[in-house]
């Protein structure tokens, strides 16, 4: 469904180093790494917000370059919280946004609006950080996307909302939607991910099914969280 090949992006103090992985359809993939590991840069490159120095990105067998509008219409994405048009009503933002989606799903929009308990007549400025995340997710979920790319969707959510959201992911997966989400909250991965992509210092350290990851990297009796902490400590200590 998605193939990222040899993605390179060089910043003065950071390098995204030959990042390659693929995402399979109908699966939930957790993209994990500590702050500054390169998760957001990778996701932004996948959405063409960041211009990579080199590398290729394919969606549904087509390169992103040259097929951007078609591909973006088939995927849903959320890059953290809603931080645009702080004084416009959500209703007005949505009314304009849906003009661009041929497959806008009003029924799904209403369903998630009610599930997330969002008030359309509020402005982003009036929303809490958690509600802003939900507002962004609402937009990503309302146009029959075949794939969701979400950058830290659970950050800022309370434990109940996080749990609800992870259930939404599972229910979407059952409907055939693939989910790719970055997080540094390991319990989110533990709860619902099928596959894990682990990025450390700009390099993909592992990309495999969760069970395989645990059998390859976890010591006996060790939880996923403990495994990641041990691996990261190893990286830091050289």
């Amino acid at each position: 469904m998605v193939k990222v090949q040899n993605l390179v992006k060089e910043y003065p103090a950071f390098r995204l180093d030959n990042v390659s992985f693929s995402l399979e359809s109908g699966k939930i993939t957790g993209f994990i790494g500590r702050n500054g590991a390169g998760k957001t840069t990778t996701i932004k490159s996948m959405l063409n917000l960041v211009h990579p120095d080199s590398g290729e990105i394919y969606y549904f067998g087509k390169p992103l370059k040259g097929n951007e509008s078609e591909i973006k219409g088939r995927i849903g994405y959320s890059t953290g919280t809603v931080n645009w048009y702080p004084r416009k009503k959500i209703r007005d933002i949505v009314a304009t946004e849906k003009l661009f989606y041929k497959n806008w799903d009003e029924e799904a929009y209403r369903k998630y609006l009610s599930l997330f308990k969002l008030d359309e007549s509020k402005t982003p400025l009036e929303l809490s950080e958690g509600m802003k995340v939900k507002c962004n997710l609402l937009l990503a979920l309302s146009h029959k996307a075949e794939l969701l790319i979400l950058d830290e969707p659970t950050s800022g959510l309370d434990p109940f909302s996080r749990d609800e959201l992870l259930d939404v992911f599972t229910s979407l997966k059952n409907q055939g939607v693939s989910v790719f989400f970055s997080t540094h909250i390991i319990s989110d991965i533990e709860k619902c991910a099928d596959d894990i992509i682990y990025i450390s210092e700009g390099r993909i350290a592992a990309a495999m099914p969760k069970n395989e990851f645990m059998s390859s990297f976890s010591n006996e009796g060790e939880s996923l969280e403990e495994t990641f902490l041990r691996l990261e400590r190893g990286v830091r200590n050289g």
Binding site: N48, K72, T96, L99
Partner: protein, 217 residues
């Protein structure tokens, strides 16, 4: 294309961009450099860019299911839309001044540049310069607009000064024709201004697309 313009108008624009269209009426003011009206229209468009930057509009637009270059197209469409609206106001004011008010004393004794078809052509060149200097300059970073706007101010006022000075050079007196005098020449100068504006805008758009494709958001 229509949706891009709708989005710009509904979400990304400042009301001042629309109010400043009325500066096109400065073409009625005698004894005043009428081309300043065109500059004030571009100042109105600048207000929308300020608002859009505060509202994080560029990232929102880039995340829509459109190509990244369509974000540039949206901004150019909006700017050209405002420019054309104000051009219509200027053209109407010029038409009234050239016909119904052709004998009005303040216009007959006007010491400054007359509002005629040449002036309209010059206004179009100012819009083209704005698109080339400001819009193209903005998309270098999609964030910084101070330097492009200050450059636009300097270039535009030098251009206005030159336009105002032209008719004081005896062989070029005809550019300041009043009413329907030298209408053939006036029409040619208007067409030349329009062509110049189109070329400047096309060059600006192509360059801005190239720049924005490489910009990290």
């Amino acid at each position: 294309m229509v949706n891009l313009l709708k989005k710009e108008i509904k979400l990304s624009s400042s009301v001042l961009s629309f109010l400043f269209i009325a500066f096109g009426l400065m073409f009625f003011i005698p004894g005043y450099p009428v081309l300043c009206g065109a500059f004030f229209v571009t100042l109105g468009i600048f207000q929308s860019f300020q608002y859009a930057r505060e509202a994080n509009d560029i990232v929102f637009s880039a995340l829509l299911p459109i190509a990244k270059t369509d974000v540039v197209k949206g901004k150019f469409l909006f700017s050209c839309f405002i420019e054309l609206c104000s051009f219509a106001v200027m053209a109407a004011a010029t038409a009234v001044r050239m016909t119904l008010l052709a004998d009005a004393k303040p216009y007959v004794n006007n010491a400054m540049m007359n509002a005629n078809l040449f002036a309209l052509g010059c206004a179009l060149v100012i819009f083209g310069l704005f698109n080339l200097i400001f819009l193209n300059g903005f998309f270098k970073t999609a964030y910084k607009f101070g330097k492009p706007f200050v450059t636009h101010i300097i270039v535009t006022f030098v251009f206005i000064f030159i336009c105002e000075a032209l008719h004081h050079i005896p062989p070029l007196k005809a550019v300041n024709s009043f009413g329907s005098e030298n209408i053939g020449l006036q029409l040619i100068l208007l067409a030349a201004g329009a062509l110049c504006s189109i070329i400047l805008t096309a060059v600006a758009y192509k360059s801005a697309c190239k720049r924005f494709e490489k910009t990290d958001l």
